[in-house]
């Protein structure tokens, strides 16, 4: 761990001003950043603590949506009765992540920006294009059971580990940002996280010095929402594969569907092909399988993670069947 200086920001404007120093970084719950700092994967020289900023509110919006402050804890969002009833997929996803202690500390902003769990990313002796651009990718040809099957590149096959973000993707959430010039902007979550391409070290559309101030959820989409996470142990493990679905049916026909996967790509993976295959179809296993095949049409394994392709298909079909049954 390298020495660093620390300050606590008093308001969002002061925070973005403070982080404009070279080598400065925000810290929220610190549950990801501190681990990475100890291993010298992150080496900020200055930390701007934003955990006490007044950005914890979870509010209803006039258009029927909700706005969640970036500093709301994962626990608070998961427990919010409005979130639980109107966006159950989000609450379920949050509760499927990490542990109670971590969720009490983890913020919404930090969760979106948490970094991959690729073990070679964590090992400063291993080559890793994400940590050290142009050094190579040790996961290719190495141990890659947890790695991506969709949207990967020859530069990086890492996954984004968040559960919460997968649910936010099917909810068409927007991320609200504030920059050093005090300008705000909103970006669709689908455009926020990036695929690795040749620049896996650039993970999001966040510009230097920008801070996440909140997440805006549009009014809940029609239909039933479910989050299903598949993992090696019953709790406290990252997803091998996870699925978020929102499906509406009418007299056995699927009228609308949204599907996203976690644990399969460098970003929470919205499966538009699956959605197209579902919409207008009958709510039957045959339709679900067609959607699953469509979702995984472009999937490739790297050896140890080959099983994820079949696992993702099965998990999607079962989750859809479950959602339809509950309709």
């Amino acid at each position: 761990m390298r020495p660093f200086t620390y300050e606590r920001a008093i308001d969002p404007e002061a925070a973005v001003a403070a982080v404009s120093k070279a080598g400065a970084k925000f810290i929220s719950g610190g549950t990801n950043l501190l681990d990475l700092m100890k291993l010298e994967i992150e080496r900020p020289i200055h930390l701007v603590d934003i955990s006490r900023l007044p950005l914890k509110d979870i509010k209803e919006e006039p258009d029927g949506g909700m706005r969640i402050g970036a500093q709301a804890t994962n626990s608070d969002v998961a427990a919010d009765i409005r979130v639980r009833t109107r966006y159950p997929v989000l609450s379920q996803a949050l509760l499927a992540g990490a542990s109670g202690q971590l969720r009490n500390k983890a913020s919404v902003g930090g969760n979106l920006l948490q970094r991959t769990r690729c073990p070679y990313f964590y090992d400063t002796a291993a080559s890793c294009n994400k940590r050290d651009p142009s050094s190579g990718c040790a996961a290719i040809g190495g141990i890659n059971r947890g790695h991506a099957i969709l949207g990967a590149s020859d530069a990086c096959i890492a996954t984004h580990p968040s559960d919460m973000a997968v649910a936010m993707v099917v909810l068409d959430a927007e991320i609200e940002l504030l920059d050093a010039d005090r300008a705000t902007r909103r970006i669709a979550i689908g455009d926020f996280h990036r695929l690795p391409g040749t620049t896996p070290h650039i993970e999001t559309a966040l510009k230097t010095g920008e801070m996440i101030t909140g997440v805006v959820l549009p009014a809940p989409p029609e239909g039933r929402q479910f989050y299903r996470k598949v993992r090696d142990r019953a709790s406290y493990a990252f997803a091998l594969v996870s699925v978020a679905v929102v499906v509406a049916t009418e007299r056995g026909t699927i009228t609308s569907a949204r599907v996203a996967f976690g644990g399969v790509a460098h970003k929470p993976w919205r499966a538009k092909e699956a959605e197209a295959a579902l919409t207008g179809g009958t709510a039957t296993m045959a339709t679900y399988w067609a959607a699953a095949e469509a979702a995984m049409a472009g999937a490739t394994g790297r050896g140890h993670n080959d099983f994820k392709i079949e696992l993702a298909k099965r998990t999607l079909c079962r989750t859809l069947a479950h959602a339809a049954q509950e309709n």
Binding site: P3, R117, A125, V230, R231, A234, S235, E310, C317
Partner: protein
């Protein structure tokens, strides 16, 4: 007065622990503010240090010293002729050669931990990399026979003519099972505080066996053992990984002596994966030949495992098969193949854990092939005397454990046909396996002194590694002296107390308590004759090693048990979850029903872990353990361990010792993994032989539900 021995009383050190007052090795602040050391590990698996630049680290704030092989003091050499590897010298930074990934290449000592850690990253090492051997599967053909295996047990055993009998058997099982690298990861990391005082040294060490640690430290530092004092009142778990000392202890001692100031070092969780023990990966061929009636005619267990070329270690994995079932023709063998990985060492239930995982899975396969109940098959093959040594059993209650377990577990509800029972989206299955573990007796001494105030103080260098030693010693002493429990004070974990056997091999409880019992009986005798003088009256008790005890030659003295598991396997995703588990055990007289049960439940949890989760993965290109933290090296969390219980049969094995008590610390981890694995087969009809059984291995064999 009511007998204390056996009572399920709470730990007498419990309040100290929950209030944070129990001092562990890293926490002895009374010695003043120490310096902090941080270990720098090699980032290659095999090769040589060509250049090492410590100037950046030396100039870093707070740094007091950077030690590398160039300035490390001369140390005693590792001496493989000393039978116990834990008594051997453990030299550190002794040359430029790198034998495994993570091997210490430097120690940075600074005023604060953070300074030491920051400076550690500034040590620049240039290596000449040599191609090493890191891939176990690719080196199986290079296996050789060691002279002996762990605990001095024979490498091979043979009775009758295995080959001929197996060939002509009516029903045969011939399968290969593989088990992965596993790690002990005690809650308290491996740490040490070394305090110099002139030429003397006090070492606050986190160790299971003080006498061995003492010898190892003295011979490494090449100083008179009398100048070294070890203090270890509490140990936060060991699981075999603290039977010996490791780099942290030697490096702290070297630095403390060089700087003439207290130095302490704790390993990070990640470092423990490379700097401490690893349970060797194994490949095991089990061959069982039986008649159609289920009677075994041939039984063969061949185990190959990896060893470090610089420190040979062989788990006794095929030895359980030597005593478990009758069969006229038998063959067990251990082979080793050298890999450039961290050395193998004991991890809880060395030998039995991987060995029974394979062997008891094979028994389940045989029961299935015969269409027999697995318990009936085992009962049918119950031996009357030890099947290889021909000596009688002191106290063998395996059948009773199985019958009692079956009754309590509701074994009759076991799905007779695999993959035939569903509960919603779960396929449900039952599995069982037998447990067996040897009882060891080592030399052990204890002392008891009674003051005129009537308070008895028991002393031994025995450790309490979280198992409850303080409590059971007090219980046994109270009974032997005929005094209430609160008149007994137990003092453990100092090298200046009489040498006990330490905590390891499940022998700590029975050995220590027997020597304490003898000390107390001797004191009683003295008290009967004389009056307590002002300075108190003292007596010693001692037991001899099992090699000196005729009973251990004339009887087969073992502990037994039976595990029962119910698992659910998700029909779609193949996620495997334990639903409930029961173990029934016979280990002679139980010294404390509560601490014993805790040990057994803990061991069973290890079994669940090895069956379903634990898997140290090596990158065969570098020799590094890739998943070296507890987010990636998975062990069960609370949600993975639902209803689980351990039942202890009342007993007394007078052949073991006069207390009738035998060790049980590892018994719960013997065969528990196989019970879970067998339940997975019963649930799914899918037999995975490459442990752990993770969902990716089951998934391809589960039909899609469309």
């Amino acid at each position: 007065m009511a007998t204390m021995t056996g009572q399920p009383i709470n730990r007498i050190d419990g309040p100290l622990k929950v209030s944070g007052k129990a001092t562990y090795a890293y926490e002895h602040w009374d010695v003043g503010e120490p310096l902090y050391g941080f270990i720098v590990g090699a980032t290659i698996g095999k090769g040589r240090i060509v250049q090492i630049d410590t100037t950046g680290a030396e100039r870093s704030p707070g740094v007091r010293m950077v030690m590398t092989y160039r300035n490390a003091p001369a140390q005693g050499p590792r001496d493989a002729s000393i039978p116990s590897q834990y008594s051997r010298a453990y030299p550190m930074l002794s040359g430029p050669d790198i034998h495994h990934y993570g091997e210490p290449v430097a120690l940075v000592v600074a005023t604060t931990y953070e300074q030491a850690r920051a400076a550690a990253s500034l040590v620049e090492v240039e290596y000449a990399v040599l191609s090493g051997h890191f891939d176990f599967a690719k080196r199986l053909d290079k296996a050789y026979a060691p002279k002996a295996v762990n605990a001095g047990l024979a490498t091979d055993s043979a009775v009758g003519n295995f080959d001929t009998a197996f060939k002509s058997a009516d029903v045969k099982i011939d399968q290969v099972y593989t088990t992965p690298y596993q790690f002990s990861q005690p809650m308290e990391p491996h740490c040490c505080l070394a305090v110099p005082n002139g030429d003397d040294l006090t070492v606050y060490v986190s160790a299971q066996i003080l006498a061995e640690a003492h010898t190892a430290i003295a011979s490494t530092l090449k100083i008179d053992p009398l100048r070294i004092r070890l203090v270890t009142p509490y140990v936060g778990g060991g699981f075999g990984s603290k039977l010996g000392i490791h780099g942290e202890t030697i490096l702290a001692a070297l630095a403390a002596r060089a700087l003439k100031e207290p130095v302490k070092i704790a390993m990070t969780r990640q470092q423990i994966f490379h700097l401490v023990s690893v349970r060797p990966a194994t490949s095991q061929r089990v061959r069982l030949g039986a008649g159609r009636d289920g009677r075994l005619v041939a039984l063969g267990h061949d185990v190959t495992m990896f060893t470090s070329p610089i420190s040979e270690y062989a788990e006794q994995s095929a030895t359980s098969a030597r005593g478990l079932y009758a069969a006229p023709n038998r063959l067990t063998r251990h082979r080793l193949t050298a890999l450039d990985l961290p050395r193998g060492e004991d991890v809880r239930a060395p030998g039995e854990a991987p060995g029974l995982h394979a062997f008891e899975s094979a028994m389940d396969e045989l029961a299935h092939a015969l269409n027999m109940d697995p318990i009936e098959l085992r009962i049918l093959n119950e031996p009357k005397v030890h099947p290889e040594e021909g000596i009688p059993f002191s106290d063998r209650r395996l059948v009773e454990c199985m019958r009692e377990g079956a009754r309590r577990f509701g074994w009759e509800r076991r799905p007779a046909k695999p993959a035939s029972v569903r509960d919603g989206r779960w396929l449900v299955g039952y599995g069982m396996a037998a447990a067996i573990r040897g009882q060891f007796q080592m030399t052990s001494k204890a002392k008891v002194r009674m003051g005129p105030d009537g308070i008895a103080v028991v002393q031994s260098d025995m450790t309490d590694i979280g198992t409850g030693t303080y409590t059971i010693v007090a219980q046994v002493a109270a009974d032997a002296l005929g005094v209430p429990l609160d008149r007994v004070r137990v003092e453990l974990g100092r090298s200046d107390y009489p040498a006990g056997a330490g905590s390891g091999g499940s022998w700590g409880a029975s050995n220590t308590c027997t020597s304490v019992h003898r000390a107390c009986m001797a004191l009683r005798e003295k008290l009967r004759i004389g009056k307590i003088p002002a300075e108190g009256m003292e007596a010693e008790g001692e037991i001899a090693a099992m090699s000196e005890e005729p009973n251990y030659k004339n009887y087969s003295i073992f502990t037994y048990g039976a595990h029962f598991a119910e698992v659910g396997v998700d029909v779609d995703t193949a996620e495997i979850r334990l639903r409930r588990m029961l173990g029934v055990f016979a280990a002679g007289r139980i010294l404390n029903a509560k601490t014993a049960r805790s040990q057994l439940i803990g061991g069973m949890t290890w079994g669940v872990s090895s069956a379903l989760l634990e898997d140290g993965t090596v990158d065969a290109r570098t020799g590094a353990f890739v998943n070296r933290d507890l987010a990636e090296y998975l062990v069960p969390v609370h949600a993975d361990i639902p209803e689980i219980d351990a039942i202890l049969l009342d007993g007394f094995d007078g052949k073991a010792n006069e207390l009738g008590a035998k060790g049980l610390g590892e018994l719960g981890n013997c065969g528990a993994n196989a019970a879970v694995a067998n339940a997975v087969f019963n649930a799914t009809g899918v037999r995975v032989r490459d442990f752990p059984i993770t969902l990716d291995k089951v998934l391809p064999a589960l039909p899609r539900e469309v």
